[in-house]
Amino acid sequence: MNLRRDVFQAIADPTRRAILMLVASQSMTAGAIASNFDTARPTVSKHLQILTECELLKQEQNGREIYYHLNPKKMKEIADFIEPFRKMWDDRFNKLETIMKKYKPEK
């Protein structure tokens, strides 16, 4: 299965977001990740597969074990998605501040 995954779809799922939070602090094996959830192991594997396909997670072979860790670059890409909206307001407000600092009340 080689579907190109949409990252935004990937993080729309609460379990997948929880997985991202878990591995944000340390690399973990699939088993260790699964032990944090009540869901069946294959379900967690499916989530890991999706997160890996859209490059939010990276796999690292360590001896016999495969560790999953967060791909911060990809995370930043997503974080930047709201950035244009925030930036638009930030620019406006910076301008407002500059204008009003120069403002002379005409009383």
């Binding site: 991202l20 967060l70 995370m75 974080a79 925030r86 407000f93 407002l96 403002y103």
Partner: protein
Amino acid sequence: MEQKTKINAEDGKQELVITREFDLPLELLFKAHVEPDIIEQWMSTPHSPTKVLKLESKKHGSYQFETIDAKGNKYGFNGVIHEFIPNRKITRTFEMENTPFGVQLEFYEFEKLTDDTSKLNMHVIYESVSHRDQVLKLPFAQGINMAHNRIQEIVSKLK
């Protein structure tokens, strides 16, 4: 880099909050939201000027703005003012004309921090969760907020 303007858009909610602290006395911050010529200045960008066609800053007043992009296309915005308390609060509706974004309800709260600093809290409520997400153009603002601290930390280190 500290971000002065912050956006909080929680998961699955049809609202968002924009907050910003200003190095301005409260009165000046408020004035910048009331005087048409000042609004025109800060709402405009070099390539797309904004004009205030109408602004009645009072209860039951209404407003109409227009922005023109570099190609000369006009974009209209309008709304009605529901509540107007000088130096404290403006409640109004906001609508981008000829878009599918619907009407949003906006609460602007102005707060004095010190004699020289103030804070604006903008609470925006959309018709539905999907309307909001459309406006934000992303379902992930929430995600980031939910996955908060740790991920946020990692992300901010990359900036």
